[in-house]
Symmetry: C2
Subunit: 502 residues, 2 copies
Amino acid sequence: MHESLEKLKARLAEINDLNMAAALLSWDQHTFMPSGGAPARGRQLATLARISQEKFIDPAVGRLLDDLLPYGQSLPSDSDEASLIRIARRDYELALKVPPQFLAEFNIHIADSYQVWAQARPAGDFSMVRPLLERTLDFSRRYADFFPGYAHIADPLINLSDYGVTVSALRGLFSQLRARLVPMVRTITAQEPADDSCLRLHYPEARQLAFAEEVVRRLGYDFSRGRIDKTRHPFMTKFSLGDVRIATRVREDFLGEALFSTIHEAGHAIYEQGIAQVYEAGPLGEGASSGLHESQSRTWENLVGRSRDFWEYFYPRLQSVFPDQLTAVSPEQFYRAVNRVERSLIRTDADEVTYNLHVMLRFDFELALLEGSMEVADLPEAWRQRFYNDFGMVPEDDRDGVLQDVHWYGGTIGGAFQGYTLGNIMSAQFYEAALGARPEIPSEMRAGMFGGLQVWLTENIYRHGRKFTAGEVVELATGRPLAIDPYIRYLQKKYGELYDLN
Amino acid sequence: MHESLEKLKARLAEINDLNMAAALLSWDQHTFMPSGGAPARGRQLATLARISQEKFIDPAVGRLLDDLLPYGQSLPSDSDEASLIRIARRDYELALKVPPQFLAEFNIHIADSYQVWAQARPAGDFSMVRPLLERTLDFSRRYADFFPGYAHIADPLINLSDYGVTVSALRGLFSQLRARLVPMVRTITAQEPADDSCLRLHYPEARQLAFAEEVVRRLGYDFSRGRIDKTRHPFMTKFSLGDVRIATRVREDFLGEALFSTIHEAGHAIYEQGIAQVYEAGPLGEGASSGLHESQSRTWENLVGRSRDFWEYFYPRLQSVFPDQLTAVSPEQFYRAVNRVERSLIRTDADEVTYNLHVMLRFDFELALLEGSMEVADLPEAWRQRFYNDFGMVPEDDRDGVLQDVHWYGGTIGGAFQGYTLGNIMSAQFYEAALGARPEIPSEMRAGMFGGLQVWLTENIYRHGRKFTAGEVVELATGRPLAIDPYIRYLQKKYGELYDLN
């Protein structure tokens, strides 16, 4: 191997080790850490992040990358070595543009902002966070300005999580989607919603967790390279390709919480577990983008986990775990309950049909704030108006309105939300392609076998890690660029069976 | 504050953050990590250790320490600032003498050696580890040679865990102790051992853990700054003064395992939790030495946890947790069972009376190996002979002989064992002083109140962290240097009641 490549890999592995250590500290913070550990833990995480950043923006890394430029260009661009050099260079150039001092100040600001939000939300008091959010907007604009030449000020922020995706492309996709969704939501929500009372009985925690574990094991989550713990806000995290963990939560009065949260996070984890082992500890050894990641969590949660095929296998098993609650509930009743559509205030609780309207509201507001056509102070009122337009209802207070999501209060404004809807759109396009290639997938699922789907997804998406951009993966895996029609077809077929869509 | 002191503290806090992160990675490895995480975890731990070491031996640290030398000397030597400067300098000078290349090679060797031992022990095959142990001996001698001018070649190795303790001092203490213990062991083991069959019934795990938790909570272990998990080999670890954790293990066929392991580790943890908060993240914020630490784990485990006072409070509670097993067992029977003395092969299972003979065997062998008067190849036979002399019995194979302890196979030869016996000797001297100062401690304990003892220990030992050496702490807390007579008095009084000692 090229000597500089050996050196570069060693340096990147060292940085990866620091980042993975930080991920473990953060996992522990959200699962097992006693309250007394909090102050030191914050400092330890900041130290690891700083050292990792210092080691990455070291000019020695730049020299190695310069050395390797001709070598990388001499190789086929989809080779592992060329890809490693290309992606490492992309990350390096991006990191170099942001001054460490800016990052440090921003991280301190964000920690403050998060703390205030954690109090402002239960109090429903937007005025508490408003000045902080104004500073966040300022930081976000300054961040974008480190990347002069952007077409839209949000583009550099979107690049952080969905590399190569632009406002221009998103506006095209989202406006098409919106045009189809708004009438669909109106038509469906004018009808009687499905009865989901069977999900809202008492379901003891231990049996819920055991069932969720059985489900994700069968879907393909490898417990020899992972584990499930409890937490407040479900998440997936990774300490190496051999250790990809899930944290979930349980509500004893609602069966949908633990089950679908666990499947969702397992979807993220199955993606990470499927990345080629040779990418371990290097820049290719991660999911390609926020949108691509979300496409996989949503595939396993919704396209699989809320499908008739899935429940044909799992519902009798679930009934045997909860006989008192479910013996009298027919498979059809249950299927309708887990696919109930309704207008609701909270994004994370929203069903498949309404979900993207929540996302697009936030996306549009991010653009307006960054462009300067909306003021932070106007957010609460703008939220209520837009919500009324889209859903025909208004949140009672800001708790269930502008204060509901942590994203803006714990990160930048811009780049935080587009991945959710991109993921939904992608998920249907991938799934259609998978069914085209392996028409036996639905019958396999009805028999409790999910390996056929996992193999296709691994082969076409997972194994590549970050070698390709999400857009490239879509084209490679499905033969065409991302488009909304598979997603619309999916929604129309599924919900056309459950509701009158005309 | 002195500007260089500010800088030094920031640098040391950064290094501490790295070390604490490594401690969490190691804790996770021994509690929750799935097997697939192992390869990356080893690499991550090595990376953190290397970066921490690089940052510590940086000449910039030396310059700060040189800057601070006159300032430190101008302050009272027991002030926090003078102590911080003194201890940081001591650590720095020690670290500087060991070349990073040596450390790296040694760590790789030790990881190999540990792996081979893990297979050799169950196989009872000393020949597998012999060549590795010979290299370990060579590494240990080379380590000592980085500190020319030692009085005994083991002194620099002992300094690693028991700073300031010399072979010369240990030989004095240990030969006195041995002269008293050998006849005591002979006298006691010639008598019928206590019946401990009541400990060897079926005790369900969950109730054992719940009881152990109740006990250590009441002893003073603060769960808002700690937690208990399960593991293979019990340990205490720390991620900050606000997060000091225990890991324990359970045997359902032996009540003594979980209970006393948990109390032992809680003893270590109560010590760490008692260190002054102002020492957080600095060189003073740890226990002073291996011996001092062991004195506290043994105090809580043995002097408290195996005392009549302790069981007067806890035995009725234990009976109510395990009524089927213990209702018919009298308090006296139970007290005798947990204080059964017998000749046994395994150090970690040994009772209070025989324990130190196990330790002294190992200590003497370490000296002989380092001095060159014994060869590694001679160890198994020498073990059998010495064991026969001390205990009148011989292990059937090397599994229960020279292969039983991990120490030599996972670290240096020299410095590994003296702390255990030092701890026992210290524990009695501290305890006698505590009882002298607070004669009400036994009656408090009989009422389930352990705060009086904890306050004395915190005030006189724990809060100081590493400000003083262990020897200084003994003198400060008890008014005289370490001596064996309180320990002999303790054993004679306690075991004179249970056995005929004449």
